[in-house]
Symmetry: D2
Subunit: 236 residues, 4 copies
Amino acid sequence: MSVASPVVPESHTIEVLDHGFVRLDEAMASDLSVVNAARVSFARRKEEMDDSDHGLIRFLLRQSHGTPFEHNAFRFHIRAPIFIAREWFRHRIGSFNEFSMRYAKATDEFYVPDAEDVRTQVGKPGAYSFEQVEPEVAETTREELRAVYETAYAAYERLVEMGVARELARAVMPVGSYTEFYWTVNARSLMNFVSLRAAETAQREIRRYADACERFLAEEMPVTYQAFVDAGRVAP
Amino acid sequence: MSVASPVVPESHTIEVLDHGFVRLDEAMASDLSVVNAARVSFARRKEEMDDSDHGLIRFLLRQSHGTPFEHNAFRFHIRAPIFIAREWFRHRIGSFNEFSMRYAKATDEFYVPDAEDVRTQVGKPGAYSFEQVEPEVAETTREELRAVYETAYAAYERLVEMGVARELARAVMPVGSYTEFYWTVNARSLMNFVSLRAAETAQREIRRYADACERFLAEEMPVTYQAFVDAGRVAP
Amino acid sequence: MSVASPVVPESHTIEVLDHGFVRLDEAMASDLSVVNAARVSFARRKEEMDDSDHGLIRFLLRQSHGTPFEHNAFRFHIRAPIFIAREWFRHRIGSFNEFSMRYAKATDEFYVPDAEDVRTQVGKPGAYSFEQVEPEVAETTREELRAVYETAYAAYERLVEMGVARELARAVMPVGSYTEFYWTVNARSLMNFVSLRAAETAQREIRRYADACERFLAEEMPVTYQAFVDAGRVAP
Amino acid sequence: MSVASPVVPESHTIEVLDHGFVRLDEAMASDLSVVNAARVSFARRKEEMDDSDHGLIRFLLRQSHGTPFEHNAFRFHIRAPIFIAREWFRHRIGSFNEFSMRYAKATDEFYVPDAEDVRTQVGKPGAYSFEQVEPEVAETTREELRAVYETAYAAYERLVEMGVARELARAVMPVGSYTEFYWTVNARSLMNFVSLRAAETAQREIRRYADACERFLAEEMPVTYQAFVDAGRVAP
């Protein structure tokens, strides 16, 4: 699993949380593809971007002309806790394949937040803010999580050893356990993901993942990304 | 939550597993809508089905003309373990809203299979078959599950009481815990769901849910349903 | 084709342009469904709307929480010129079945604008404005259109009579000729359609259709509609 | 418009009909991506295909496991008559941007079939077969088409010269006129397109386009393509 992909150097991996990562497996993405998709309206095509194209991309984003941003693809390989994956898979415009606890044995990796990420919520649903807890509370929390994870995984292993079907034994696995998946998505849907999941209102853990995805977007499609930021991070 | 819906009588609930259900909240579905959607190709429309329309529906299904089966909607209210919901949410043609452990406190209901549903897997991935385990193994399994659920939920409650944000405390919750959600879907996508999830290769627990959905399909669109069965349960 | 539907009275038809209409064939839509889809986050359900729910719907719209607006369906029956239908079918979240010139003989109905709708464009692509032309230009335009339509349809009829396959003979049919189709769509996608197609920048002819769709939305989901208008007609 | 793309040599263009083409603008596609997407179920990844992977791809196709075929992208640039484009745009899983007769002046290129493609239909809707017509009928048909095209285009030009808005003047344009568009699609959706549009029941003209797309699929993903053919050209 740590084998380097033939296309993208291993450096295309951003580590997230204690055991997770976002790896860009492959991309077919360029600002030029946006420009050419838009200019087909006029039956025009270009070999290279020029300055007027920067303006065109900004115009398209501001005016919510979304389709020209769909003619590209990012294939990500992601490792994240199940509770993060569950939010991720709500994004229907894109493709997923995931690790299966029906077919394979669950891993023993679980999410334990750093002490400074243990937090309390203040305010009302839809408008929470979060504050760091006292160090002892943070430490107790980390211990409680670890203890449940160990208990659950030990039971899981006993069940599997007894011959219980993995698809059933998995019922004890906590949503803090890590899963992994491939996600292929175009820039329009990716911007939508980033606008919702790298936002103030998103859960801190998925924000870290969305931030990582955002860096790959910025790298592959810098003009589009800048226009997205300038437009207040609202997806077209 | 046990309040009767104004549109559909409470009898439109099918109980599934130990704490779950599929409830048809509302439907706009009829075989006539399939016929009229197909006949718009010829600019024809009918007030009532006749025998030739049964043949038309069978023809459409057999020939994989899927779009006429999309002009309808089923809104389901479902209660199921998280590991079932995770498979369910992979179906992208449809709409979901789900209970949130970020906003609300997790319930203390968890899936414990009946003794005869505790099983072992035989064979290779993609071609498993399942056999019932010995009674003692079944009982031990049920006890192991209950024990993990209790440990996890007790830790969850302690964390919430200590003020830890619910979105973080939920990390300990096992995927055997129950969630609930609304699912709105058209008959074409519902047939696809049933063909995959009420199949031999599907996990037994989701099959029970798919069977329940199937009964509602049969009730609302009997001619379509019969044609689907006759076509070998392959969705158009 | 003029047969009344069993579900919706014929009064549910809004005439548009010279030979077109938008007819609401059937709907499963209510503001309550939005509220209940949103409240499942907290495992709550209601029988009837109250004032707090109006606030909830406004909140959801303003915050771009779109999914609760998807648990409903509008089935429209529409008659429109092909050049309008072509813009309509770009909306991918929804279901279409259309009249087929492969299977049936083309109708002889074509769009001729009223004199006051004959217009000239001023300004640059993406930022056109339109001004009414002189009465003589308007009349000449209407005559030119009618003349081409007649020439084309006469040729079409000759080809069909000679035995040429309809799928080939249709090549002469102008995009001003009328087609008809069913469109089933949820309120979220319908609001997106209205926000783009009932807008200043949309072509006048499709705006008339979008206005008609909008009236049905307002009738079926008045609280949602009011919130949509108050949010500046931006779809969630 | 005849400028070579920086990524794909001009040889990646297949001419179709009298003025059309399918050009593969860029692709991110490989059989290996299918294998890796499938093997993430077991948390395994490979650098290169081996023989067992051929079997895996065949298995996935036969069993209708479709999602592993979605982690790739083909960006096509296409030029086709409007009546073909209309069928094409019914395929909702994919992205389109098209030439606009609102923004740009219509071209004067129109589809005139070769004599041997002028045909008559025999049989009933849904089960037509086609036979070549007599040479004189073929020639008359070609003349009729050309005559309507000329009449329509001359009227179009007069209207535009008179200052009538292009979006209105286009109403006279026949559906035999050429348009062009970008289409970005994954292999699963592309196989679905090919299975429906390169089929016996499809219109001859779109079959030629589907055949061209199929050649690019075969070139980029040979193992997948062979498995698709062996499975009877049924998309997973």
